[in-house]
């Protein structure tokens, strides 16, 4: 449900943002090849999309994000459930999971590109790595947050393990899980771009570098950055819509 008032407030925020950008350019006296004014970027954005320059790169990056997110979430749901229900698993696995999270992905990406090659695989691996932690933690927290009294109710009704999982634990954990997925999907965008910087032929990250270092087309670089941001916003909104649908009124 999109209310007119929320559209208006988004629109207003956008206008303020563009206004601030223009103000910074004018007041700071930045040359257009360092910080182009918003109108230049807008024109270049439309040109690049209409001319089919950005679209193939965007498509590649979207595929990387989708696959990486899917794999990362799949693994995280399983791991999160395991960590929630098995104290032994938590004691054994937690240190490695936290260590993996603490290692900056920017440092790991070139290694992963070396092992998995410059193709789609390495990007999917990098994306799923970066998505894994927030979703796993939010799953674990969500599963643990199931009201013990509801679990007792289920026990009194002789619910099987599977029934407890699907009728109690999953619905109870959904708000937390989807909250983790909101974070995860925006990180997936970062992961895809970082993966491309570690070596790729196509993608929005590649296009940023091309525009910056080979074409010296700074408005195009900004237009690409804006495209990346839009991808993030759209994906985040999708997760929010899914959340509204699945979680509903409680």
């Amino acid at each position: 449900m999109i209310r007119a008032s929320s559209v208006a407030s988004v629109g207003l925020a956008f206008v303020v943002f563009v206004g601030l950008w223009k103000a910074v350019v004018v007041v700071g006296g930045y040359p257009p090849f360092i910080l182009p004014p918003p109108e230049d970027v807008a024109i270049r954005f439309v040109e690049a999309w209409a001319g089919g320059l950005i679209a193939p790169h965007a498509g590649t990056t979207l595929v990387e994000i989708a696959l990486g997110f899917a794999v990362g979430v799949g693994l995280a749901l399983a791991a999160g459930y395991l960590l929630a229900r098995s104290p032994l698993a938590e004691r054994l696995l937690s240190p490695y999971i936290v260590a993996a999270q603490a290692t900056p992905i920017l440092a790991l990406a070139p290694l992963l590109a070396l092992w998995f090659g410059p193709g789609l695989t390495s990007k999917v691996v990098i994306c799923s790595l970066i998505v894994f932690f927030p979703v796993a933690v939010s799953t674990m927290v969500g599963i643990r947050s199931v009201d013990a009294r509801l679990l007792e109710l289920a026990r009194s009704l002789r619910a099987t393990r599977r029934q407890v999982l699907w009728t109690l634990e999953v619905p109870a954990a959904l708000p937390s899980i989807l909250g983790g997925m909101r974070v995860g999907v925006t990180l997936a965008v970062v992961g895809a771009i970082v993966g491309e910087w570690a070596g790729a032929e196509r993608g929005l990250g590649v296009l940023v570098n091309l525009a910056r270092g080979s074409l010296f087309d700074i408005p195009l670089m900004f237009a690409t950055l804006i495209t990346i941001a839009l991808v993030g916003v759209v994906l985040y909104t999708l997760v929010v819509l899914v959340e509204r649908r699945l979680v509903g009124v409680r």
């Binding site: 009201d147 009294r149 509801l150 007792e152 109710l153 289920a154 026990r155 009194s156 009704l157 002789r158 619910a159 029934q163 009728t167 109690l168 619905p171 109870a172 959904l174 979680v247 509903g248 009124v249 409680r250």
Partner: protein
């Protein structure tokens, strides 16, 4: 000790009986507890919650369990429900030993314990889902139950949208879903305001009249115990033992007006004697012994 009195039948709106198809009255189980003792670990020691409870409950009767805090009333219910295994003694339903939870034992807790993401209707059908009932049968039974507790108009609402009283009705409806032979209620109306509570007592009586299920009701309210119970069992403070077992011979259906009769207040007084003084009674003299010379309330 038995009490006699007269009760006036009075028509009241609210809960009616769920008209079940094949089973006009659900088979009500007899409950037998013999020398039941339960203890819980507490650090290095164990706390004895129940120390040899003997209780025989006739099928279809209503027994109210009353006692001071911590006397183990809820523990008795859990043992009957099969959620807790006693350290010693036996628990039987109709001569069958209780080995674990039984879906045909309905439970109503002090909190409604409804699934917040499900509608009232889906909450009521939850036990039937778990038991694998086909959807047609579930729909039929659901309609009966919602009608019985007067929640038909709220069927599609979420628990968060209902008042406390309505939520508790939903949880009662759910407890009745599988046509239980025993209904265990652990202070089911404690969270409601006094007026609603009275109303629910009346409706609970009607429900029992129609379903005939055996009911064990844990309560803190002496009036409620007398109103609803065929018997009132008083437990001692921890470790709980049966201190008294009083039959209430008031004719059914009982009315709240009858609760003022002298006969009732005598029973209540008797129950109170058995309950004894609480551990945390306030002393008569508010001034601590060593400060008796000073007036506490004038700034110090």
């Amino acid at each position: 000790m038995t009490i006699s009195g007269v009760g006036t039948p009075r028509p009241t709106a609210g809960m009616s009986a769920p008209g079940s198809s094949a089973s006009a009255a659900a088979p009500a189980a007899r409950i037998g507890l013999r020398d039941v003792a339960v203890s819980f670990p507490h650090g290095p020691d164990r706390i004895e919650a129940l120390d040899g409870i003997d209780l025989e409950i006739a099928g279809g009767s209503v027994v109210a369990l009353i006692g001071p805090n911590g006397c183990g009333k809820s523990t008795v219910l859990r043992v009957i429900a099969g959620l807790l295994a006693p350290d010693r003694g036996t628990v039987e339903l109709d001569d069958d030993p209780v080995t674990g939870p039984d879906p045909r034992v309905g439970l109503v807790f002090q909190e409604p314990r409804l699934l917040p993401w499900r509608s009232v209707a889906d909450n009521v059908t939850y036990p039937m889902e778990l038991a694998g009932w086909p959807s047609a049968r579930r729909d039929r039974r659901r309609r009966e139950l919602l009608h019985a507790v007067g929640l038909e108009s709220a069927a599609a609402a979420r628990p968060s949208q209902l008042s406390g009283g309505m939520r508790q009705r939903a949880s009662i409806a759910r407890a009745l879903a599988l046509e239980p032979r025993v209904l265990l209620m652990d202070e089911p109306f404690s969270a409601l305001d006094a007026l609603t509570r009275e109303r629910f007592n009346v409706e609970m009586q009607k429900l029992h009249a129609r379903t005939g299920t055996t009911i064990v009701l844990v309560t803190h309210s002496i009036a409620e115990a007398i109103f609803l119970g065929d018997r009132v069992v008083v437990l001692t403070p921890r470790p709980g033992r049966v201190a008294a077992d009083l039959r209430i011979d008031l004719l059914r259906p009982r009315a709240w007006e009858a609760m003022d009769e002298a006969v009732v207040s005598t029973t209540a007084k008797a129950i109170r004697t058995y309950l004894g003084p609480a551990d945390d009674t306030l002393p008569d003299d508010l001034t601590p012994p060593d400060r008796r010379d000073h007036d506490l309330w004038v700034g110090e």
